[in-house]
Symmetry: C2
Subunit: 467 residues, 2 copies
């Protein structure tokens, strides 16, 4: 099967000028690659009809190895005078703007459902190039559309991420699948790791390509977590033909709530099933072999085989074992509690966090022995241990977890420099203290790695066969 190539075009002054980060482009690039489509270039231009139409023409005129089949355009579909995508598309495709009846009907239905009045500005949104194909917006007012310009298909979607994502899944991808005879099959394994720097993850997996030439390995780092992605399709321009016929059952979204899907909460979009495919036993076996090999290379550092974050995995384990936890935080300042409570349903297992910045709060609320602090200081394994036991006792929880350390920029000493953290963990019949040293000078990075390290210790405790 031939390589399908794409580009992504973001429009809008707010993106061009850096007033918002272009997360739409990165999301679309990942989704394209997951369908085995090569992404050649990402561009951004401002709200200028000439700039938009001229880059459209440029892209549609690329030839040979640079030829572009599909362009995903975001932004410029709103009701105001700086929303110019439809006009630019008409210019680039040498077409006229007309009132698109399908777009108008769909928009009127959306407004009726919301109990709003259709304004003149909204009517403008239904003015599309005469040869455009209309695409419904299930989460907003701006209609989407697609036009052909030369041999390139341009898909115009709203700039609002929630609306864009829903339209991509419900309208764009189905059209692409049909027009380009896209294979439905795509399979990806997402493992989350903690505790190894990205360079060492890379070197431990450097033989992957030799061992599994038909699979693709990818990484996505979100400090301090690294995601390792194994997939059945290559999206490297030079390799993309190779794996295109792989068929595989998708297990990507199984049990996962990842950040990418967070905003995709429109009714219709959430029920889509964009990855259903024919199961290919041979490929499944290959993927499982790759999973086993990667797991063996990264043993001891894998948080989740299903793409779960640390706080989601800890929550899953606590729920599974019907255990509860209470936290006592000093240097992490509420971050552990905030992470745990980011998970919906966490009230089932998270009872309390005492964010005790002052020593008085540590002794008064958690019952830490003032002598312990006096003799060892607040940043000490023994203090952390007593904080963990105190949190457990006060909240009546199964486990207590605590942190006391120096996030910086101030507060470091020669003995205990910025980056030092003591972590305590307590449970039925045990109380342990640990001390670690991280080398970051940034307060936010330190808070983050201290919190994830503490949750990692809790996770290891929960996984222990003795419990």
């Amino acid at each position: 099967m031939k390589t399908i190539t794409s580009e992504i075009l973001s429009t809008g002054n707010e993106v061009l000028w850096g007033d918002v980060d272009d997360t739409n482009a990165s999301w679309l690039a990942r989704r394209m690659r997951e369908s085995g489509i090569v992404v050649q270039r990402v561009s951004c231009v401002g709200d200028d009809v000439r700039d938009i139409s001229s880059i459209m023409k440029e892209i549609s005129k690329r030839t040979n190895s640079e030829k572009v089949d599909i362009v995903l355009v975001t932004g410029g579909l709103g009701p105001t005078s700086d929303d110019l995508s439809s006009e630019a598309a008409a210019i680039a495709s040498e077409d006229n703007i007309v009132l698109n009846q399908d777009a108008l009907v769909s928009m009127e239905a959306y407004f009726k459902k919301k109990g709003w009045e259709v304004s003149e500005g909204n009517i403008k949104q239904a003015m599309l190039p005469s040869r455009a194909g209309f695409m419904e917006n299930s989460c907003g007012t701006a209609p989407g559309f697609h036009v052909k310009c030369g041999n390139t298909f341009f898909f115009f979607m709203p700039g609002v991420p929630k609306e864009m994502k829903a339209m991509y899944e419900l309208s764009v991808l189905p059209v692409i699948k049909e027009k380009f005879k896209l294979d439905n099959s795509f399979s990806m394994i997402r493992m989350k790791l903690f505790g190894l720097p990205e360079s060492r993850v890379g070197s431990r997996l450097k033989e992957f390509n030799a061992k599994f030439p038909d699979l693709t390995l990818g990484f996505r780092a979100s400090f301090p977590i690294i995601e390792v992605k194994i997939s059945t399709m290559s999206c490297n321009k030079n390799q993309s033909n190779k794996n295109f016929n792989n068929k595989n059952k998708d297990n990507n979204n199984l049990n996962t709530k990842n950040k990418d899907n967070k905003n995709l909460n429109c009714k219709n979009a959430s029920s889509m099933n964009h990855n259903s495919g024919i199961q290919d036993i041979q490929n499944n076996t290959l993927m499982e072999d790759a999973r086993k090999w990667v797991t063996s290379q990264l043993e001891g550092y894998i948080i989740s085989q299903d793409g779960l974050n640390m706080e989601q995995e800890v929550g899953r384990l606590l729920t599974q074992k019907r255990k509860t936890v209470a936290v006592a935080e000093s240097c992490t300042g509420g971050l552990i509690a905030n992470m745990l409570t980011d998970v919906a349903g966490s009230s089932e297992y998270f009872l309390m966090s005492a964010v005790t910045y002052s020593n008085a709060a540590k002794t008064d609320i958690l019952g830490v022995n003032p002598d312990t602090i006096e003799q060892n200081g607040a940043v000490h394994k023994k203090t952390a241990q007593e904080m963990a036991s105190g949190a457990r006792r006060v909240a009546g929880a199964d486990y207590g977890l605590s942190t006391s350390g120096i996030a910086g920029p101030g507060g470091g000493t020669e003995d205990k420099p910025v980056g030092t953290v003591c972590i305590g963990i307590a449970g039925e019949g045990f109380e342990k203290g640990y001390q670690y040293q991280f080398s970051f000078s940034d307060r936010h990075m330190n808070k983050k790695i201290f919190a994830v390290k503490a949750l990692d210790l809790l996770k290891r405790t929960l996984e222990s066969p003795h419990l």
Copy 2:
């Protein structure tokens, strides 16, 4: 003075494929605009020497209104085989790669300082186009450089944000200033707002352009905070000549710690003074008039006139008034504590947060009357009031602040749907409770807006002339 035009080019598969968001491009776009330089386009290509050199040629060949003076390129300067920027730059500028002695000496000095060995891969990093100008990397190993291609200057910087930002300030901007006779003057007022949606901020300020035609108004939204930016320079392509000669003292970084500068903590870079300029009293008066007018239009919603975030402004007020605070959080789950402790030095005024998810924790730790919860429920003004007083009493703080609400997705009722929050605030001789209803269905958005709303109430209390 003529308009100076620029483009931004990000290189790297990890950016092209969406595995990292391109925050470098948005940062550079903002910095360009702050120097009055027009940003025409942002592009991204992968680690492919042909793709990089061909887009360089494309850009350098743009003519007339699309002509590009400056291109800022990031990525591809590392020691590995997929770091191809130097090679691509040589191809595009029809040059050869040679060992650049300045780059080698600088790199060896950096390695010596760190106590590392220079490897063969590192030597490769010093191989630059023969006509390239070397730019020092004060925070890392990869040397930067600039080349001229046609009439366009290309500046090559590392992809690591900290290294890129330091190199931009220390090397790129000074070269641009010299080559393009850039005026040093730029002035920006950054106001942070809370409580008005962006559309209503826009409509309240819609007469700005008519009233202050020589100034530029901009927005940057970071939910739920909106930043309003007034600056002395226009960076709109069609307006950029107009204000180019404005001279003004910069007050941009005064007292602010904004997110953009967070990672720029290299020794040399932090001492730069990129905005010193000649004071123009006339323009200062104009900016102050604009500030007054904008302030009057947005009265009651401005958090800070100096770009401070809510938690920084609350911290500033607490420090100024020598007051302390303790927090009791239910639905915000530690987020308020986490925000407050993100500010360095917060241990001076933040004593404690009790993240009491369970009712038992509310009564046991905070001393909330069990009858209050039984009669009114946990999400109630009266419960919130008692939580705030309890936190204040337990920690011995001047103020107590509390939240109890329903962040969702579950837990809503007809009476108290998802998005309901009760906030309590207590101080010497008073205890108040409030109830608000927000319309978001997203758990993270609700936690965020609940937390900012609570801090906003504390801020208003601290600002009250009666205290």
